[in-house]
């Protein structure tokens, strides 16, 4: 018992003096340590790509615009990872569960022929009951498997995607836009939202500079609002308790926090954000991808937040923004530059290697005493 108390005290002390910097270390080394090698390498690489772009006859303003659009599309999905990392549940590889809730909401909104902003927010609203329900069940499950969350989350994601593959064939959707023409039932593999709510959010206050540069202001405003909510949440009592659970569950329990409830809440929050994130993604991308589409979509989000400097134990909104920009920047720029230079399309391979490599790096990083 005494040992344990000592250990907790030690932990608390170390928390307080988290970053111990010896005066000898040069500022460059300090910066590298703080940012981490992969982030620096990728950032330099991205810079080089932007510089190279004009030489291979790519319009720079168009490249930047593409990158910004994709950052806006993906940012909320990356943000969805923050609550679970903070509450100590690790990286949410089960994010596809939230995506499925979002897809259900989107499909319902199309089934009811809702268009424009009404359609978009209708989709978000209709996704909420599903994501709350899925998230709650998923949270209860993860509370029973503490320590193995990441592995089980992956398989919860995979198995729910394949379960929904069957449901897409069987659910009684009727709208001719979504259903296979010849059979009259079963959903198409990709469903266009063109006539309903494509770019309705992006186009709010959006502007163009020249012929190539387009900035989706609305999407960024929405993302900012979401970020503000998450930021505000982590400054409430519940949010602080959640962070405490993540950094030391024993200590949190000793100070009267309900660990399980806190973790469940974080999972629900993550699932709901995942659902909203995929709907925002769809309104910009223009298509709803179902069947096996969402299966691997969680991995790029995880890679992005890790690239932003998050670890398995700690993540904040800054990580989300930096990470999404770097990751999507690389994914947009590298294939198009390589494409123009070498005349081959390597984007798929590039995406696999960068995203999986980043996750591997985070999983194998030797965690220091308390990172």
């Amino acid at each position: 018992m005494k040992n344990k108390e000592q250990k907790i005290l030690q932990d608390v002390n170390e928390e307080k003096c988290d970053v111990v910097i010896t005066p000898k270390v040069s500022p460059i080394k300090r910066f590298i340590d703080a940012a981490g090698w992969p982030r620096i390498i990728i950032a330099i690489f991205l810079l080089v790509l932007f510089i190279c772009a004009p030489f291979v006859k790519l319009s720079l303003s168009r490249s930047i615009s593409d990158t910004l659009v994709r950052v806006g599309m993906n940012a909320i999905m990356v943000l969805a990872l923050v609550p679970m990392v903070q509450s100590g549940c690790g990286l949410n590889f089960g994010l596809p569960l939230g995506f499925l809730a979002g897809i259900l909401g989107a499909l319902l909104s199309i089934e009811f022929k809702m268009t424009g902003l009404l359609g978009l927010f209708g989709a978000i609203l209709m996704s909420l009951p599903f994501s709350l329900l899925f998230g709650y069940g998923y949270g209860l499950l993860l509370n029973r498997v503490k320590g193995d969350e990441m592995m089980i989350a992956t398989y919860v994601g995979f198995s729910s995607v394949s379960l929904f593959c069957m449901l897409w064939l069987l659910l009684p959707f009727r709208s001719p836009v979504m259903v296979w023409g010849f059979a009259g039932k079963g959903l198409r593999t990709t469903i266009s939202v063109d006539q309903f709510w494509q770019n309705t959010l992006s186009d709010i206050l959006s502007f163009r500079i020249g012929s190539d540069f387009y900035f989706p202001t609305g999407m960024y405003i929405f993302f900012a609002i979401m970020c503000f909510f998450i930021w505000a949440f982590f400054h409430t009592k519940t949010g602080t308790a959640m962070t405490a659970v993540g950094s030391n569950p024993d200590f949190a329990r000793a100070s009267g926090v309900n660990v399980d409830a806190s973790r469940t809440l974080s999972v629900v929050l993550s699932t709901v954000l995942g659902g909203i994130g995929i709907i925002i993604y769809q309104q910009s991308y223009g298509f709803i991808q179902i069947y096996n589409g969402p299966q691997y979509m969680g991995f790029p989000a995880v890679a992005a937040i890790l690239l932003g400097g998050a670890s398995v134990h700690k993540a904040n909104i800054g990580n989300v923004i930096i990470g999404t920009f770097l990751f999507q920047g690389i994914l947009t720029m590298a294939p198009s530059v390589i494409n123009s230079a070498l005349k081959t399309d390597m984007s798929e391979i590039f995406r696999i290697i960068i995203s999986m490599g980043m996750i591997l790096y985070a999983l194998t990083r030797k965690t220091k005493v308390r990172s």
């Binding site: 018992m1 398989y155 198995s159 391979i349």
Partner: protein, 383 residues
């Protein structure tokens, strides 16, 4: 008196049943499921047995390759797909050199081994840096290497590595085509000793792949022998408790690494056996589900993340592949849509892994809580 006795016996039987269900929840669920779907598929027994022999011959070796890492306490080695990729590269090469028959088969194995050893070493090194989360790391590692595999097959082969056979290469001049015909070594091992049982003028009989089964039997004997060697004992000790075995003088990191190297090599051989039976290699998809299906088969057979033996492998392969054979037809007959059955078997393979992992982790957590409770009681009573 006799009444009392029978009561007692009943109670014992009840206890036994409860224990049986709690030790083998996954296989029992599966058997119950099969009881309903096999009749619904309307397949004849002859057909099922025939298919089953093919699939057991095809898949057992791959599943067996998962045993060693489990013994070393590293959980299911999802990174075995790396071995499968090495096997496929070897197969592409021997097809290009047009080495046919058994000599082609064994040449492919010979080429795959050094590749697997190097990749397995790398893999083991990485997994040693991720202690406590080997499984998720091995899975991500498999996906990561898939990127490299695609790079090599799609860009390096035909440009850096010379490929002479024009039929293998994409029309743009480099990169391997989507499907590679393995006509040269197709079923060469299966038919090495041809044997067909119950052959009559009306039915084709049951074909038995004697050659493959001999190889599988040799491998099973190898595992039984291996468990008794010094290295095998070390592996089990490391699997039980890393710290204790480390202090007993076993180099735990090295032992873990070796188990992964062996697993990768065996998976490579397993994939070559698998593909010589199938007869065509689909260059970019053949290995996609290898790890998932092998893991699911093993877990269906009653193995857990920490214990697995040879009987689990065979029970698992038989049950899992029965489901695989019947579900499209059962889906068609019950729901009226064969696609549902197709998706269903993917769902079952993912779902089974999820359920097995959850049950295992849940049990372990309960155990931990019980230990803690016991400790607390001990302390209060001591006071």
């Amino acid at each position: 008196m006799s009444n009392k006795n029978s009561n007692k016996r009943l109670k014992e039987l009840g206890k036994f049943i409860v224990k049986f269900i709690s030790t083998y929840p996954v296989p029992i669920m599966f058997v119950v499921f099969l009881v309903f779907t096999i009749p619904a598929s309307h397949f004849s027994v002859m057909y099922l047995v025939n298919e089953l022999f093919t699939r057991v011959a095809r898949n057992s070796f791959l599943v067996l390759s998962l045993l060693l890492p489990i013994m070393a306490g590293m959980g299911i080695n999802f990174a075995m797909v790396i071995g499968a990729m090495a096997g496929q590269i070897a197969l592409i090469l021997i097809t290009d050199w047009s080495v046919v028959g058994l000599s082609g088969f064994f040449l492919a194995i010979l080429i795959s081994i050094p590749l697997s050893v190097v990749l397995g070493y790398l893999c083991g090194y990485i997994l040693n840096r991720a202690k406590g989360r080997e499984m998720v790391t091995s899975m991500i590692l498999g996906f990561f290497m898939n990127g490299f595999y695609q790079f090599i097959v799609l860009y390096v082969m035909g440009s850096v590595i010379p490929i002479k056979n024009k039929l293998l290469v994409l029309s743009r001049g480099y990169g391997i085509r989507n499907a590679v015909n393995l006509q040269g070594i197709r079923q060469c091992l299966d038919d090495f000793i041809p044997l067909t049982l119950f052959k009559t003028s009306t039915s084709p009989g049951i074909r038995i792949q004697v050659g493959t089964f001999i190889l599988i039997a040799i491998f099973c004997l190898f595992i039984v022998w291996f468990k008794k060697t010094k290295l095998g004992q070390d592996m089990r000790a490391v699997g039980q408790d890393r710290n204790i075995s480390e202090s007993a003088g076993i180099a735990s990191d090295r032992t873990r690494l070796l188990s992964i190297v062996l697993s990768t090599v065996l998976a490579g051989i397993g994939q070559i056996i698998f593909l010589q039976n199938v007869g065509t290699l689909s260059t970019y998809n053949s290995h996609d589900m290898t790890g998932q299906f092998a893991a699911a088969s093993l877990l269906v057979g009653g193995a857990t993340v920490s214990t697995a033996n040879i009987s689990n492998v065979f029970v698992g392969v038989i049950l899992f592949h029965l489901m695989f054979i019947v579900s499209p037809m059962a889906g068609k007959n019950i729901i009226g849509n064969a696609m549902v059955g197709e998706y269903f078997r993917v769902f079952v393979s993912y779902g089974i892994i999820a359920i097995a992992l959850v049950l295992y982790s849940w049990k372990r957590q309960k155990e931990k809580e019980r230990l803690r409770q016991a400790l607390r009681e001990q302390q209060t009573s001591a006071k």
